[in-house]
Symmetry: C2
Subunit: 273 residues, 2 copies
């Protein structure tokens, strides 16, 4: 009988490479929020090389939802600019597989699916600026209440590239009215993690009908004296990839991120080698 996989709490004091090893060797397959504090966590998009140039163009044209923090060589599962010995086939807790625009599998490694023509694109995630908000005394309610951030389909058109197009997905966090401008300034310093909010106030201006009915995640109440603040969301590229009907595309499962060795507040996301 093999030992039970480790729990989230078992990993809470490990370094980024130790967490990756626990995922790769010990079968850890749960979410990564709060692990390897201070290190960059990444959304993933793995796709055939023939679509990679257009996808990179798409990300460059939509930098707030799609901040690129790493790109692999074609067919190479290692990502040395993001971390020591990262093997993208095994070092993420859960993957989602899409074929021809349909979700087909959620799995814990992609060794059997790896091909010589695959390119991995790693994208920054909101954990980074959330940590900065909290460190600057702006509480983040969905974290305090152990919920998932509410996400909404917006009416904000993305700038297309090739077959990649669509509307931005946004997250909402309530912020005390007196701290809204601080929230802009703090998160703007993290262009690798969605940057400043895309707006605040009335949800209707972004085509959101009801803040208590998110398209993904949990509803979070906006209390008296608070203003809803909206940020670009890393679910955006996943939706765009899905809509592009690629023959094969692999992403992380939501919340189950790649943890890099790069500090989340580093000037660039490239490790000095």
């Amino acid at each position: 009988m093999s030992p039970l996989p480790p729990r989230h709490a078992d990993l809470s004091h490990l370094t980024a490479d130790q967490v990756r090893l626990a995922i790769r060797q010990d079968g850890y397959a749960r979410h990564t929020a709060g692990l390897a504090a201070g290190k960059l966590q990444c959304n993933l998009a793995i796709l055939p090389a023939q679509d990679a140039l257009d996808f990179l163009r798409f990300c460059q044209r939509n930098p707030k939802p799609c901040p690129v923090v790493g790109i692999s060589d074609t067919g190479n599962p290692f990502m040395p600019t993001l971390g020591h010995d990262i093997d993208i086939r095994t070092d993420v807790p859960r993957y989602r597989v899409f074929r021809n625009g349909q979700f087909t599998d959620e799995i814990t490694d992609i060794k059997a699916l790896w091909r010589d023509d695959l390119v991995t694109v790693a994208l920054g995630c909101s954990f980074t600026f959330e940590n900065a908000l909290i460190a600057n005394g702006i509480p983040v309610r969905h974290i305090e209440s152990d919920q998932t951030v509410p996400m909404f389909k917006s009416n904000i058109a993305l700038t297309p590239a090739g077959r990649f197009a669509g509307e931005m997905v946004v997250t909402m966090r309530p912020v005390a009215a007196g701290r809204v401008q601080d929230a802009y300034q703090i998160s703007r310093a993290f262009p690798q993690a969605h940057g400043a909010p895309i707006g605040h106030g009335d949800p209707a201006q972004f085509g959101i009908a009801d803040l208590m009915k998110p398209d993904w995640g949990d509803p979070v109440e906006v209390q008296d004296g608070e203003i809803p603040v909206y940020w670009a969301c890393g679910v955006t590229p996943q939706n765009v990839l899905l809509a592009a009907n690629l023959p094969l595309c692999i992403t992380h499962a939501p919340g189950h991120m790649l943890i890099a060795d790069v500090a989340e507040d580093a000037e660039t996301t490239i490790l000095k080698t």
Copy 2:
């Protein structure tokens, strides 16, 4: 007899799109420093699509010398994310053409060279952070003395991608000892324009033998009480492209930049369309 082309002074109060029109229609073919104040100016690399994915990987891995601010569609000479009606074949004052790693021509438009497989990559340039230094009371001597910034081949290895590799080219600006940390903080806010310095002090640590003998540009004296400060330079990608021996590659001529409609201090380099 056609009229004489306009002089630099004739363009000094024009908007970015008016300057581009003066280049396209009136034959302005001189440098762009100081024109369309406050707008982003760009280095250019135009190359065949078959090498574009590797070149974008190279830029992503070396973001300080190679900050990507725009990517065209393959074969499309327009760059709507950077500006209204930008035609990359005509809107830059001077271009340099390289074939198989050899400089072959310096010309004022590339209409005759345009091909359906060309991709334009626009990269940020140092004008942006120099303006910010000056606005924050840190003088820039080569600008005050109307010289070209001194540039040096360094021993700093770049992170390779495909056939793209080499060492970083750096610029040097003397800064008063008491303002060196300010210079880091001010320029770090412009990741689209080389960001914070890559170092300061003894030039030997970067393999530079003599600060008064730059590889390109003019020598600039470091005076008593000043420290030489080094930034990543946009000549880096040009050298790397040259060394890659591409069948065809087109760049701007040094100092003769593409002027975008994007504000140089905007959070992203993507125009809202």
